[in-house]
């Protein structure tokens, strides 16, 4: 089972008394894109925020069950150690406004006070920006503020920032929902490219995006994991009636 990056067992999440995730079981293998789809408010974002323990930052939020990253129990780790191993890209691009493009990429090292030689940092910046397909556009303006970039570029900068830490898994929380169609397709192509050596957990409410990008898909409805399996199979012969209804646009 060393191929498994993330294992979720009987996992539930709560806001106060409100159970927003109900006994979810899920396994994500190395170098695949797993999509989480479902209507708004179904708990898909909560699920990935539990993976890097951002869920518990909200007062009154609790969890039960087990989550394992490689072979470490996520809820036995220190959050700050865990979060260096789990990259996250948010719905809205959020580069640090006080930092240049260069500094944004290495923010994970800089803010954590990890000292590295300039040449090493240069390598990390170049490699990360190339991986996020932004290098050619910004290689001459590395020391300008990251907030001067377009929305799509900012989002790719945030992806580079997450990749720079060499995460075991990359959490993507509706990463294209604030972007225009062209930037969206660029980023989708990027995910297909990245999956050769990065494991990704992609939350999306865009069914077509899940179909285009992911290898396996989980359909979550009202906090319950309804169906989980290879994307192709789920989109052609869904097992559950609710999945079929969702895919055909009957609700959501």
């Amino acid at each position: 089972m060393e191929d498994t990056v993330l294992k979720v067992e009987k996992f539930s999440a709560f806001f106060g008394d409100n159970k927003v995730l109900k006994d979810v079981d899920l396994t994500v293998r190395r170098n695949v894109v797993a999509a989480l789809m479902g209507p708004s408010g179904c708990g898909k974002t909560t699920l990935i925020r539990c993976v890097n323990r951002m869920h518990e930052l909200i007062p009154g939020a609790t969890v039960t069950g087990k989550m394992t990253l490689i072979d470490e129990d996520i809820y036995a780790m220190q959050p700050i150690v865990l979060r260096r191993k789990v990259g996250m890209v948010f719905q809205k691009p959020n580069p640090f406004p006080t930092m240049s493009i260069y500094e944004n990429v290495i923010a994970g090292y800089k803010l954590n006070g990890i000292r590295m030689a300039k040449s090493e940092l240069d390598t990390v910046v170049e490699r990360s920006l190339k991986r996020s397909a932004l290098w050619d556009e910004v290689k001459d303006t590395l020391h300008r503020k990251g907030t001067f970039l377009s929305g799509g570029q900012q989002q790719r900068l945030c992806i580079a920032r997450a990749l720079a830490m060499n995460p075991e898994i990359l959490l993507l929380d509706e990463p294209t929902s604030a972007l225009d169609p062209k930037s969206t397709s660029q980023i989708e192509e990027l995910f297909v490219e990245l999956k050769r050596n990065v494991t990704m957990l992609l939350v999306t409410h865009n069914i077509a995006q899940a179909a285009r990008v992911s290898d396996v898909t989980a359909f979550i409805y009202l906090g319950e994991l309804v169906e989980f399996g290879p994307t192709e199979k789920m989109f052609t012969v869904p097992k559950d009636k609710r999945t079929e209804e969702y895919l055909t646009g009957k609700f959501g």
Binding site: K92, K110, L111, N112
Partner: protein, 282 residues
Amino acid sequence: MTGGHVGRRLAKDAIFKGVVCLFAFLSLLPLFLILYYITMKGISVINWDFLFSLPRPIGEAGGGVVNAIVGTLMLIVLSSVISVPCGIAAGIYLSENKAGKLSNTIRLSVIVLQGTPSIVIGIIAYLWIVAPLRTFSALSGGVALSIMMLPVIIKTTEETLKLIPYHLKEASLALGVPYYRTILKVILPSGISGILTGILLSVARITGETAPLLFTAFGNQFMNVNIFKPIDSLPYRIFYYAMSPYPEWHSFAWGASFILVVLTLALNLIARGISVKWKIQF
């Protein structure tokens, strides 16, 4: 429905606009009159000797306010050293803990403190510092002024940090950055222009305070840079010169007023410049 109705309404409109403009102009008038008066009376006194020599005893002509300028600058530094760390920390606490008993208590205290008469704060500083040390001192003046600076710094820090989007904090935490580093390296730098503006405005506010200095810093004819000894200040020097019966000293009071007003005006303009120039775009 007739032309007369429309005409009347348009006339009312014009009158309303005229009245608003008139009152707006009236509210500006005092400021310009004060600036005009102080400049007219004060600028003729300003010269090298006035800026760089000590006050002379009664009966001797000439003299200056160098001790008061140095004293005021020292008081600004002393009070800032005390109030800036406390004020910023309290502001961080308030913006991080929006609800809660302690936050509400701090907020209420800030409002009460802002409304406390400055002379009362002077008495408190007298009780705390002057009485135990048995001497008036620059330190006690600095403490009194720092208490007056606190509300402005706390409020502006809180308001500035509240405007910083939550997703920036999330971005930092998601990289595994500890909470304290997230605050110090991401949140504070993003709000630096607002916080600096608040500090400068609070300095501008206390630069002209006289009452809290009367029984703390006290005033001093001579040059002093020891924080445990009485110290002079521009507002106190103005008070002292203006209360005297000598016309020359009266003109000195105008000169010192001019320096004080220029200093406050400069602080306000710099604060404005910083808040525009260093503004961070999210």
